[in-house]
């Protein structure tokens, strides 16, 4: 294994790139940990954002103003403010206020805060896509279902959502790819993802270009995986009459 790494470092050195940190066990371990943390962050946030999006979309289309209005306000605020500022407000301000209120019983780690903030932020985008999908369900189908005595919850869960999901899937996949890229901001609050590990290495040894290439390759790979998974899902869920 180390022999392979040394070979890699030597080939890179011929291009003038200094990948020496790969040979140092401490720095290599921190990078690998960072990569695993990033992957875990992406996985948890994808699930969280889809759940948040589902909740917000059902609130938006519930038809009752006192549920739909707060959801709309929340969506407009999260979509029109930067993620980094939301993260700072949540982690630096809300977390501090929470700790002042309940002391050391505060269970939320920085990882948890990043998951919460990015899930809610992307959930707003998912909600918009799902709302467009729900509104694209033909009225005829809904009338037929309600004539078969589906109540409104069953209507949402069994008729609207499956169809809405299929309509909204391309937008949802785009949002998920954006989400994968957005997890890089976790480095701003020292979460220990791969971007943070890279920053720690380049502030000591000044090999920014090499680490950038590594980061771009890593995130490109993650986006590619999400994209392929998305396209496979699209193919599986394709409906006759709507395929293109």
């Amino acid at each position: 294994m180390t022999h392979l790494l040394e070979l890699l470092v030597q080939t890179a050195a011929r291009f003038g790139l200094n990948y020496g940190f790969l040979l140092d066990a401490y720095q290599r371990a921190s990078l690998v940990n960072g990569a695993l943390t990033s992957i875990a962050l992406c996985a948890v946030t994808i699930v969280g954002s889809l759940a948040a999006g589902l909740l917000l979309a059902s609130m938006l289309t519930s038809g009752r103003v006192w549920i739909a209005r707060p959801a709309r306000v929340f969506i407009e605020v999260t979509r029109n403010t930067p993620t980094l500022v939301q993260l700072y407000c949540a982690f630096l301000v809300l977390n501090m206020l929470l700790t002042q209120a309940i002391g050391t019983a505060n269970p939320l780690t920085p990882f948890a805060w990043v998951v919460i903030v990015i899930s809610l932020h992307k959930g707003a985008f998912h909600a918009e896509a799902l709302r467009a999908g729900i509104e694209a369900v033909p009225a005829v189908t809904l009338e037929a279902a309600s004539s078969l005595a589906f109540n409104s919850r069953q209507l949402l869960w069994n008729v609207q959502l499956p169809l809405a999901l299929r309509f909204a899937l391309p937008s949802l996949i785009n949002n998920l790819i954006d989400l994968v890229k957005m997890t890089a901001v976790a480095s701003a609050i020292a979460v220990g993802d791969i971007t943070y590990a890279s920053i720690m290495i380049w502030t000591q040894s000044d090999n920014v270009l090499e680490l950038m290439i590594l980061l771009l390759a890593f995130f490109g790979l993650l986006s590619f995986i999400v994209n392929c998974a998305g396209r496979a899902l699209e193919a599986r869920l394709r409906m006759p009459g709507y395929a293109h």
Binding site: V93, T99, I189
Partner: protein, 280 residues
């Protein structure tokens, strides 16, 4: 030594970004600094503006102010040049100096053996400070060794990262001291480690920090020096005489009082006495 890249590595960013306008330009390499300063009648100084008495921003005029700023302006005045202040962060200050973006660094950067080998510095220090940790009053931490395996907040590029890693602490490095202190208040780390001149006034004053205390002794008290690029002996000698003059005339002690820096550093008094005795 200056960071040099092979021609291929230098072309890589150009290729990726496809900016043809950079085709005719060459990355700037710094000339002999003193010549450059005298030629341009301008000295570019990197200062750390993290808020606090050493460097912050005046909200009225939005101009930098603080001890670092005063030092930079006096250096420029004595060199007969204009000063240009460039705000730096602990994470990028060394790079700015090495790339030539700034000529000098007056950025709360204490002398350590590694830094002394990488960069050049003015031999006479202008300050002396060590690190201390702010912890909760009822926390179990009283010595630096108690920080083993505990999450500790500090700033990226801080000189305390190495000794803290030596103690086995789990470092969480933020962009600046502001976020690090807020993270401490949010209980995301058991201690925030920064210069004693930042922490001590905080825990001493007012209602916000009354549940916190600082631990002693100071970690790695080290002289704060003005940093230059390696090999710039003329610049270092010239600045050395300026710094000695500050100590001799007591100007630094006045500046420290003027900016309400507490606790006042005993090193300044020592150096003042030493240089007054050495020669008028």
């Amino acid at each position: 030594m200056p960071y040099t890249r092979s021609p291929v590595a230098r072309c890589l960013p150009l290729f990726v970004a496809a900016l043809t306008m950079l085709g005719g330009s060459v990355a700037a390499q710094a000339d002999a600094t003193l010549d450059k300063i005298q030629q341009r009648h301008r000295v570019v100084v990197g200062v750390l503006l993290s808020g606090g008495p050493f460097g912050s921003i005046d909200p009225m005029t939005q101009k930098p102010k603080g001890l670092n700023v005063d030092l930079a302006e006096d250096v420029a005045r004595q060199l007969g040049a204009e000063v240009e202040l460039v705000p730096v962060l602990p994470a990028n200050r060394v790079q700015f100096l090495q790339q030539g973006k700034v000529d000098l660094l007056i950025a709360n950067m204490e002398w350590t053996v590694e830094r002394g080998e990488q960069l050049g510095f003015v031999p006479t220090p202008f300050y002396r400070v060590g690190g201390t940790a702010a912890v909760l009053k009822d926390s179990a931490i009283t010595r630096w060794e108690d920080l083993k395996d505990q999450p500790v907040c500090t700033s990226q590029g801080s000189s305390y990262i190495k000794p803290l890693t030596g103690f086995g602490a789990d470092i969480k490095a933020f962009k600046s001291s502001s976020e690090s202190l807020l993270a401490l208040r949010g209980n995301n780390c058991v201690a925030a480690v920064h210069d004693a001149t930042l922490i001590n006034p905080l825990v001493a004053e007012g209602p916000e920090w009354q549940n916190y205390r600082a631990i002693s002794p100071e970690l790695n008290p080290a002289p704060s020096v003005i940093w230059t690029r390696p090999g710039e002996t003329d610049t270092q000698a010239r600045l050395d005489s300026i710094v000695k003059g500050w100590h001799r005339t007591g100007w630094l002690i006045d500046a420290e009082k003027r900016h309400h820096i507490s606790p006042p550093s005993p090193a300044l008094v020592e150096l003042h006495d030493k240089f007054q005795a050495a020669g008028a």
